[in-house]
Amino acid sequence: MLAQSNLRPHYRRPLLTTPFFERSQYLVETDTYVPWSGYSTPDVFSSVEQEYFAIRNSASVFDLTPMVKYRIVGPDAQRYLNRLITRDVSKLKVNRVAYTVWCNEFGHLIDDGTVFRFGPNEFHLCTAERQLDWFLDSAIGFEVEIREVTDQIAALSLQGPTSCAVLKAMGLSGIENLKLFEMGHYRLGELPLMVSRTGFTGDLGYELWIATEGALDLWDRLMAAGHTRGIRAIGYQALEMARIEAGFVLPNIDFISAARTIRLNRETTPFELGLEWLVALEKGHFNGRRALVEEKARGSRRRLLGIEIAGKKPAHGSLIYDGEKGLRQVGEIKSALWSPTCKRNIALAMIEAPYFSTLKEFWVDIYVHRELLWERRMERAWPVERPFFAPERRKATPAPDR
């Protein structure tokens, strides 16, 4: 067990820039940055619409470096992770990736992330929030070493229908055969380049991981290879649109980490988010298992549903009612979007028990701001399948060029 190394004098620079900043700063036309895990990251480069359509129609590049990365190695690494997270790590093969969540003793979500298996006893865990203390305390009694490596690994997410073609043009031979959630190992000059077929857009896409010193070389080669394939650097806002269409949940938007909640009952469980497919109750004990077994028997307090809403106005922050008169609130919208690809008004909505299973129709109040005047509308809404958008190319192997 080791504490975080490489502490910088953060007071000199409250927000860091990623190793790609040297290139990306010249592309940011809007000068809009948002803080993300201690880094300053572009919210929008030039236009959200163009960036969004790069994800869905060509290729988009998103700087993933601030994603918090932990390296977990040691003879007990698999046992350790199996006790920490909800999925069964013993089923995760070497060079495979798994999306997962982890909980506290009450079965309340702490965070979500991805586990990368590099070897029998070697893993990376990528998370939204820093939580070294939780991981170290979880290591009591396990022979395992945990180290935060966020600032040692630069990462780009390349997403979109031409992403495979871009990588082929960059010289990554055989990349089209990489399966969804599989890792491939290449070289970029002197440095190892790891490519995983993963992403947060629900589209065909890859994430590229390289030691920090190779960051600019990676950026330049990627942009050169993608030049004729519609490649475009994208900011946080465009990614946010794509992730809602993909139906993925986001910490602090769709749920709050149990480590941060102050008020009672604001915590969320994996079952409430509809993530039961991530919860391997049969694998043996893991953090929160006993509480989750109980929840499964008792039924959940609420549930996140994908819903579709009449009209075109996104239902940001709307409350949900059981009738048009809005007399009884039964839930609220967490994430909302007019989906440009689906041409549907979609949202992720947290609905209270028992209404998430009994009601087939809801009513949503939408506030519309038009020329400085607020209007309230009641719109009909109904549950739909999640993900809202799931193109075949996401999973197809070999991956299509276009």
Binding site: R79, N82, R83, L84, N104, E105, W134, D137, S138, I140, G141, F142, G284, H285, N287, G288, R289, R290
Partner: protein, 518 residues
């Protein structure tokens, strides 16, 4: 090998044996597994020099409820006492000691004697509430069952029944420190020093630390529960208590195996289902009850992989480092203490002449050092029990307070320094004692840990403090003897109400298991 045991108890200390007896009497088939070669845990008598025997850890029976002794019929099973209702002498280096006997104090001025009578009256009334708490199976604060609600109401009524004045006093002093409380009430340094020792023996800090009034109440409450026995000395040492318990247990149908060290608690389908011994043998059972301390039970025997991080974190933080060492001396003649008569020599002798002395003795422990002038609780058990030493010779058993678990880089040096400081202190109160010593033994908390398998070497298995008491002892999630692991229970001193050779934890654990129908 299996003979169809329903319950396995890990550890044949007094709580394990008490738990076994109650479970066996309720018709359960109980096996007690003891790692060492004899039963008794830390309540054993041992020969530390040829012919010289002494209680290895606790040396007085002063906290076991009288009704427990009766229920277990320990006297029928051979337990005899060489001394009952032993007086306490607070030693005075340069004059007469003060004597606590039969609920009164002698040797102080009239004002202090009156103050003591009033103090004793009030503390005893408050201690009755604490005594009620000691007997309880801790409830969950969620009060999910009717039994828990009833227990909660009973406790509330007990507190209410104190009346407004005592309730106010309880609220006022409960979280206070003993130094302030004693200074408020008394003038005699010797008197305050002696009561300060009672407040801090086995605690984490000296008398100026908040919470030491709780430990004083705890001590008075448990002594009150001992009733007429008072501070008692079992004939043959503390081992006689556990020997009698072992006989009672066998008579009740309990099987006891010594030399059977448990390596792991076995889990199947999220339920404790048996144990694996060091020898490789596995023994199945429907419930496993651990008399080992919480850290050993959860981290070593069960393993963190069966527990949630939050819980393991709490267990890891459970404060369990002992602060009391034991020194045993073999003497070729009876010792003589300044101003102490024959009755006193057979009693309990304290070296804690003032609260300042107590505080100064505590200070070095913060820096991993041994006290220059240690606080001592001394008995000479062979005065009343000649079986413990060769004819005409004697053994002295000393609790040395404020000896830290961590002893710096030179632990061996610290240990011999400790012995020499203890002997130098004794020499001031019993001149010439040094020349009568023919053998000695020092058991630091680390030795007690190794000797008796108690993580931290704490005789309560973990500090007694507000945050480690009653519904939060040892930690939330394992209070009330059941644990997060279905089928695994605790019955040792790490559980409510804690240690001392009291036996209530063992009895309450059995009660809980029987209540739950397991």
């Amino acid at each position: 090998m299996s003979k169809g045991y329903t319950h396995i108890i890990i550890g044949a200390g007094h709580n394990g044996l008490v738990c076994a007896i109650y479970l066996a009497k309720s018709g359960r088939k109980v096996l007690v597994l003891e790692a060492s070669g004899e039963v008794g845990g830390a309540a054993v008598t041992r020969e530390f020099a040829p012919g010289f025997k002494v209680s290895a850890a606790a040396h007085l029976l002063n906290a076991m409820p009288a009704e427990l002794l009766r229920e277990l019929e320990l006297e029928r099973h051979g337990l005899q006492f060489s001394a009952l209702g032993m007086p306490t002498y607070a030693l005075n280096e340069s004059g007469a000691p003060i004597v606590f006997a039969a609920g009164a104090v002698e040797g102080v001025d009239a004002e202090d004697a009156a103050a003591f009578a009033a103090f004793q009256g009030q503390i005893s009334r408050l201690a009755r509430v604490v005594g009620h708490v000691l007997d309880m199976v801790p409830f969950r604060l969620s009060f999910r069952t009717w039994r828990e609600r009833l227990d909660g109401l009973k406790l509330a009524w007990k507190i209410r029944a104190l009346g407004a004045r005592d309730m106010r006093e309880l609220l006022r002093i409960a979280a206070m420190n003993a130094y302030d409380l004693l200074t408020e009430n008394f003038r005699s340094s010797l008197l305050k020093g002696a009561l300060g020792l009672d407040a801090t023996l086995g605690a984490e800090h000296s008398a100026r630390a908040p919470g030491t009034v709780l430990t004083l109440l705890y001590r008075w409450a448990s002594q009150a529960r001992a009733g007429a026995y008072g501070a008692a000395q079992p004939a043959g040492g503390m081992g006689a208590v556990t020997q009698a318990m072992a006989r009672a247990a066998r008579e009740a149908g309990v099987e006891i195996r010594t030399g059977a060290r448990v390596k792991r608690i076995l889990v199947e389908g999220d339920h404790a289902r048996g144990v694996l011994l060091e020898s490789g043998e596995t023994i199945p059972a429907q419930s496993i009850i651990s008399n080992a301390d919480p850290k050993t039970t959860f981290l070593a025997l069960l393993g963190p992989e069966y527990l949630d991080t939050d819980f393991v974190r709490r267990i890891d933080h459970f404060r369990s480092k002992g602060l009391v060492a034991k020194v045993h001396l073999a003497l070729d003649a009876a010792p003589r203490f300044n101003g102490v008569d024959a009755a006193g020599l057979a009693g309990r002798l304290l070296v804690s002449p003032s609260l300042e002395y107590l505080e100064l003795a505590f200070n070095p422990s913060k820096y991993r050092e041994v006290p220059a002038n240690p606080v001592l609780e001394i008995t000479v058990p062979s005065i009343k029990d000649p079986s413990l030493a060769p004819a005409g010779k004697h053994v002295m058993s000393i609790n040395v307070m404020f000896v830290p678990y961590e002893l710096g880089a030179d632990a061996a040096g610290a240990r011999s320094q400790l012995l020499s400081n203890v002997l130098a202190t004794l020499e001031r109160y019993a001149p010439g004692l040094r020349d009568r010593i023919t053998a000695s033994e020092v058991l630091t908390p680390r030795d007690l840990e190794r000797e008796f398998g108690m993580a931290g070497g704490h005789w309560h298995h973990g500090a007694l403090a507000f945050d480690q008491f009653f519904v939060t002892r040892p930690v939330p999630g394992a209070a009330g003897y059941s644990t997060p692991m279905p089928g695994l229970y605790l019955c040792g001193a790490g559980s409510h109400p804690g240690g001392g050779v009291m036996g209530i934890a063992g009895r309450n654990a059995a009660r809980k298991i029987i209540q739950e129908g397991n």
